[in-house]
Each structure stands twice: as structure tokens, then as C-alpha cells.
Point group: D2
Chain length 261, copies 4
């Protein structure tokens, strides 16, 4: 350690003493019969990698995989036939829209643990109600659905509204914007783990901020999303695609990026 | 259930069949010898409360407690003497700045589990290095420090840089902006639990997005932050104030809000 | 530290060096630029309380609450009317037996987290099949059922056999003895936690050894046991009684003790 | 479902109603607008495998790997040179004893998650004190030490006594028997998980019953056991041997078996 650093440490020590005079003690009581030195709990290696954040919140940071930036759907394919391009419609070189009846779309790449940012908007024209209004969904690993729905002034079952893990966990709050506005999901996803013999080792977990408001707080996902019946993990799987659901409504999407964790 | 809803259910069922034709099966294999109906896994009560999100990401939602909006430090007191006002300086009716030597500041209100948004900037003039540059910190429950440091082009120990839980967990990445820019922390905090007899029941956990980039992923906090020695939970506590550290540097703060969880 | 202890430490240090010469390194690599001393990670206070174990495995240790030792059912009451004595039958001053139709029995005392030892035997005469044979159950906190069933050569649904958390978690293996033998359950139970406002804070967990064989491995209990429908935690509760189920079969019990955790 | 089973279900239903009349409701409130049937939450497949438990508690069940049954040390090798036989001494065709100075011994087989039963006794002749008396240890995966010590009337640091995870977690209680008696450890161990790139994914956990008394309750192991310095997980690893420590004392061992989990 060079002399400059020593000086820094000495200064830090002074502030520590000052702090302790106020409120905290700088050493734990009764723990360590032999006092330690500050440097003994400093860990220097390995150096933490630098990531340049996006310009403003919601923008992709430097290490993100860009899944949609407005220009094209090259990162996506048709869910009906993954040799075919994604059959949805790009609008204004800005966002894309579900083409009802064309089927869902999936990423070309497969993912496991990730931080995912996605923006969506319910169809501009309000039609239908409950599950019939602005219904779509983000399927993590093609199995676990974070519901998309127009939940703005639209009552449905709590475990099926926007921000829910479909039929598994209701959102903590309903933070949905009106159909003429854009919503964001910021998702922290941990994939399930399986043992070598295929048994489930640990369930998936998910944290979701909906328009910056916490709606899923490290929720434990109880298995594949099913419209009918009890959720479960029927078989082991590795990384898999992210898919977006065609549920017959013209849901819109933009600014989709992902960081592998 | 009214007839409209039945129709919606029927439609949803159709889409479910369509979906299953593509990729998923709509019922789990081998689980339920007697088939269920979709409505059996719909949970309607209690209704999820509505929260109006902020206008853009980082803005306070409708259920937030505003701890600083640019105008005053009325929600804060001096850490040296909590009957005195917070001794830090408001600038331009926009942000406030540490007054070195005046001591830390604390919220008047006490908190436990929370979602906390806070914005900060390292001092405009770059001085010092390692722990000596732009050092401050957010102490959750007045004990558990999320480090603030000017970690832009400034190497220090990994468990002491910006985004670290000080001397406990290094951040996953270094997402620090330059001293002339503002940073955000979006924090999801779960307080430790204690048993009635005072023993620790479960440790605190924290998730942090630094400028929208995940730096702490449900990290388990190992106890009170100490400059010297091993962390621990020396005694039970309930809700407590959030404090900001005076570490001798003119760190700046703005736009602070919190949602109780 | 006295000189004897110093000697011990020095000796321990020697053995540590010896150990490290064989296989382990005695200090972590790259962690601590400034080396520590062994005493810095020794924690002496508070002293760990002494418990005298039972004479052989299954016997009650010195800090156990004895719920049944063969002599009487004074620790139990009728579940139908908890002002009435437990209506079951003591046999041979050794064990007791369900009196079918008399209803379940409950402890007088209420419990939360605990280590529970209980021994049981299916009715000597084998009658019925599946859920109809030797059915009873241990209800932790009067809500969460660890199933008792004669699962010896008796197929039923996997999440309803002996060692299951009824309709929640199947046992890892079927370790049931024949109806003419006694079984043991050694249970490590953590009660659910609720927030002050009544919301669920964390689910209950359970570990069970059935005849010394692990059948539940820190399983997360998904809520109240229901014969029909989805499990859930309908409302907050504190400590509560342990109850044993009258399911119409003459299940036998003996040697029941509990340690509060 | 055949008619017998239907009858069983009908009977079970009756008992369920009886139960609900007493205390529980048989269906959750407000959850399911459309009532379910009991069979919908019965899971039959796959059938749970049968394991024959040992004759009495502590005896090996039918699916155990026998690591020592009194006869020989064929399952063990020298830790100094794993091509050599284990250099410890078998006594009375019943147990074996550390040969001080010969070094530790390791299993030939490698293990991960497991249930491990091991019996041990402190040296008959009481010598030394604190860490100097009857010191040995069980190293899970050759890294994580469950301490063995003669903690009968022998004070030492709490995180170094019998039943501790050495220098990590003190035991909940001290359940040690006298040196002339045998002790049992019943261990439920979950190995740490690592990501494909070598990063730690989840820490190891351990539950320990010492003479049938809970001393570690799903404790999270903070890394490799070090005599000096902070614990950590320095590198990824898979299954590994279990080793027993030669710490210079004639600790005795018998009846060791393991079940893979």
C-alpha cells in the first residue's frame, strides 16, 4: 500500500471515529477478542468490471444485448415456425405491434438469469374487458409468464392482471398507465435450477418494477404457466428463448434489452 | 360471473388452445387425474390497490413518501443532534450538498422494508483518491451502508466502491457516472427480522439498481456496517431512520422518495 | 487470554500449518492484503447453553417439553371442546390410540418454531386402502399437516402418503415401517411469519426425518392444509396448538416431545 | 378410479367435513370462485421410492452407502497420499481411532448433497483444554468443517466448539456427551452451487442434529473453513471427498453412512 493510500486510510479512520462518536460503534461488541485493522476486511481482487449506464433510466447500458431498438425484428422469430421471421408489424421505426392471429414471437437467442427491460403499451383503442383487453405476456424461458394486460380501469382476477406472474402471483400494486401511454417492465430474473438427474433443485425467482414501482419482490415462481390447473416444473431445461404472446390484441412494444446475469 | 365474463373466459380458452397448439401444453402432464377448469385458479380478492406511477422513470409514484423534492430538508435532522435541523446546504432549489464536518443527516421518520429512490452526484471538483474521493453513504435503518463514492475512474477495494454494501458485498458491476452527472440508486430493501427474545431471525436483503443497472441482486446483508472488524447483528431493532453520511466530501443529493413495502 | 490459552492457540496454529501442508491453505487467497491472526475470528460470547441429550436417539433431551411419556394425556385436550380432556385411550402405560369418532386432540400449550419428536404406529389390523388405511396426521400450529398414514405396501397419491405435507409436498422416499412396528418423525419446523398488518411475510418450512431417513428437506409449506382446493395463508396467526387427527383409524402414538427453537 | 377408491374418497370427504366442523374449514375462503374437487389436488405420479429404514435410529437405511461398519477402512484413504490406505487404527472390530501425526483420512468416493450419519467419541483420557482437547472434524466436500471437539466441560470459542461450523456458526446448544460415551451427528448437507463460469451461485447449507438435538438449523456456510482469516468460496468445485481431521487427538469413530440427496 502506498503512502497516499495510507493517508486515505488514516482519514477514513478519523471519519469512522467521528461517526462512532455520533451513533455507531466502529467495532462490533464482544466479537473479536483481538482487534482487527481496517485493511483486513478490504477485498481488492478481482476488479469490478465497468459498465456504462444508458443516458437516462430505461436506456440500454453498454453491456446489454439489444433485442429491439425500433429498427427491426432481426432478433425475433415466429413462434409457430422459428425458421420464419417474426410476423409482427413495425410502426414508425419506433415500436412494433402484435398482429392478432399471427402467433407469438420468440427471441433467436436463449437466456437464463437476466435483467430484462421491456416497454409496452395497451392497444390505443380500448376494447373488451377483463382478460380480453390488451392481453399479451412476456414468457421468460418460454415458460414463465409475466402478464401483460390493459389493467388500467379494468378489473380482472388479481393473479391475472398486469404485473402478475400469471395465475401464480398477483402484483403488489397496480401501476398500469393508460392505453395512450407507454409502460416499462424492469425485470430481475433468476432461472430455475435442476439437478443433473433432472429433478428440480431450486425454483425461479422474479423481481419486477412496473413503471418504476415494485410489483414483484423476489417472488418464487411455482412452475410453468398454465391457463388450466396447478403450476409445476414438469421437466428440466436450460437456457431458453423469451417469447411474447399473441393473445388477439394489438399490444405494442418498444425498447427491449437484456443483460445476462 | 356474468355472461360477458363467461364470453371472455371462452375466448381466453380459445387462445389458450391456440397457444398450446404452438408450443405450450395448457395443462400439466400427470398432475391432476381429474381435470380442472380455468376459473379454479383465478383469485379475485382482495383487489390490488392502484398506484399512479411517476411521469417518467425515477419520478415518485403516488404512494411515495417524498424525502426531498428540491425545496427543503424538512424531512431530515442533524445526526449529531436530532433536535436540530439538517446542517447541509440546499443549492438552486434543486439539490443539496454535504457540508463537510457538520455530521451526517437522518430522516425524521423511521422505516423498515422499503423501495427507496435516491439520486446523487460526486463533488464536481475531483479531489483525493480511493476512499477519499466523493465518499458518503446511505445507511438503511441507520446501520447498513450502501456505499456512495466517486467510483468513476477511481480504484478502491471492491467491497468499498459505489454500489457496494460496505465491506460486505462488492457491486456486480461499476455503473458509476462521471462527477458532472447525476446517479440514481433504486433500492429494494428488506429489513432484518428478530425473534421476540432478540435473536436474529433472518438477515436483511437488498437489491440495488445503479443508474438502472443491477449491482446488488437480493444480497444478504451480514450485519451492521463496521469500518473495522467482522459484521454482525449485535442487537434487535425495529424500524429506524435512514441516514446519509458526512465523510468529508461535498457529495450532492436530489430527488429522494420511498415506498413502504 | 491466559498463557495456557496462548499455548493452545500456538498448538492449534501448528496443526493448522500441518493441515495446510496436506491439503488446505490456511488463509484465503487474495482476500486480505493485511494478514489476520487466528484469534480475530474467534467468538467467545455468549457461551452456548448446555443441553443433556437423551440416553439414546429418540429420547427426550433435558430442555424438551414432554408431551407424552406413556403415563397420561395431561398435556392434551379434546379438539371438539378444549375444556374437555383428550378422549383417546392410553394402552399399557406405554402408548395411546385414536378413539375413532371422538375427534382430534390438541396440546394445551401453543407453539411456533420447534423441534418435535413423535412416534406412531399404524393400526395393528390392516384394513382399508389408500387414504382409508391408518390415516391420521400431525397438524403443526393446528393448520399445517404432516400426514400420518399406513403407507406400508399401500399406494395412494404421492402428496398424501406418510411423510407428505398433505397435498403440498410428497416425501422424498417412503420409509414407512410395517403396522406392527413403531415409526418416528423427527421434525424441524419453522413457523410462518406475518407482518404487523397481517400480510404473510415468509412461509413456514419443515424438515422431517422418518425413521431417521430424510423425507422433507427444508420444504416450504404453501399454506393451510385443505382437503379441497389450493393451499394458502388466509390470515395471520401466532403460536398455536399441535393437533393430532382422528381420521377414523386406530393409529397409535408414543414418546412425544418438543424443543422450542 | 375404481369404486373402492371412490368409497375411500367419499369417506375421506366425510372426515374432512367432520374436521371442518371442529376447527378448520375444508376449503380456502375467497380463493376459488369455482369450487374444486378433492381429486384435483392429488398427485399420483411418479410413485415415491421405498427405502427400508434401519432397525433403530442411527442404523443405516437400505439406500445408504456404508462408509464404516466396524470391519475395515476400505472406503477411506490417507489424506497425505490418496494412493495409500487410511493410516488410522481399527479397534475391536467396532470403531476406529485417529493415529496422531498420521494425517487425515478421506473417502474414496466423492459426494455432494447428502444425509450423513457419523458417530464419534472424544479420547477416553481427558487431556488438554479448549481447542486442544479431542479435536478433529468432518470436512464436507473436503472444505467445510463441522467441528469435532471434546466440548464436555471444556470451554472454547463458541464458533469452534463441537457442533459448530468452524469459525462460521456456533451450535445452537452444546449437546456433547462425556468422553466415555458415543456421540452422533446426523447431517443434512446441501453443497454450494456454482455457475458455469465458476461464480458462486448459492452457498452451502447444513442442518445438524447432535445426539438428536438440533445444533445447526439450515445454516448457510460462508465458505471454505480457514483457521486464519475470512471464509470465502475461492473457486468452483463439484462433488468431493469427505475427510476426517487428524488434529493430534485420539478421537474415535464408528457407524458412518451416507445417503445421496
Amino acid at each position: 500500500m502506498n503512502s497516499k493510500l495510507s493517508l486515505v486510510c488514516a482519514l477514513a479512520c478519523l471519519f469512522s471515529i467521528q461517526l462512532s462518536a455520533q451513533k455507531h460503534s466502529s467495532t462490533p461488541p464482544e466479537v473479536s477478542p483481538m482487534p482487527m485493522k481496517p485493511q483486513m476486511t478490504e477485498i481488492w481482487e478481482p476488479e469490478v468490471p465497468v459498465v456504462t449506464p444508458g443516458e437516462k433510466l430505461g436506456d440500454a447500458p453498454s453491456d446489454a444485448i439489444i433485442l429491439f431498438d425500433g429498427s427491426n425484428l432481426d432478433q425475433w422469430v415466429s413462434q409457430k415456425d422459428n425458421t420464419k421471421p417474426a410476423p409482427w408489424k413495425i410502426v414508425d421505426n419506433d415500436h412494433f405491434e402484435v398482429v392478432p392471429g399471427s402467433g407469438g414471437i420468440s427471441t433467436k437467442m436463449k437466456f437464463g438469469d437476466c435483467q430484462l427491460h421491456i416497454e409496452f403499451s395497451a392497444p390505443d383503442k380500448v376494447e373488451g374487458e377483463s382478460q380480453g383487453r390488451g392481453n399479451s405476456g412476456v414468457f421468460l424461458q418460454n415458460r414463465y409468464e409475466l402478464q401483460i394486460l390493459d389493467s388500467y380501469n379494468n378489473r380482472t382476477y388479481r393473479n391475472g392482471q398486469a404485473g402478475s406472474i400469471y395465475k401464480d402471483h398477483a402484483p403488489l400494486v397496480n401501476a398500469m398507465r393508460s392505453p395512450l401511454e407507454w409502460n416499462t417492465y424492469d425485470i430481475i430474473y433468476r432461472a430455475p435450477r435442476f439437478k443433473e438427474d433432472g429433478r428440480l433443485d431450486s425454483k425461479a425467482t422474479i423481481t419486477v418494477l412496473h413503471n418504476g414501482v415494485l410489483v414483484q419482490n423476489h417472488s418464487v415462481i411455482n412452475g410453468n404457466t398454465y391457463y388450466i390447473g396447478l403450476h409445476n416444473y414438469p421437466s428440466a431445461h436450460g437456457d431458453d428463448v423469451i417469447s411474447l404472446q399473441d393473445h388477439g390484441n394489438k399490444t405494442q412494444f418498444r425498447n427491449i434489452w437484456l443483460r445476462k446475469l
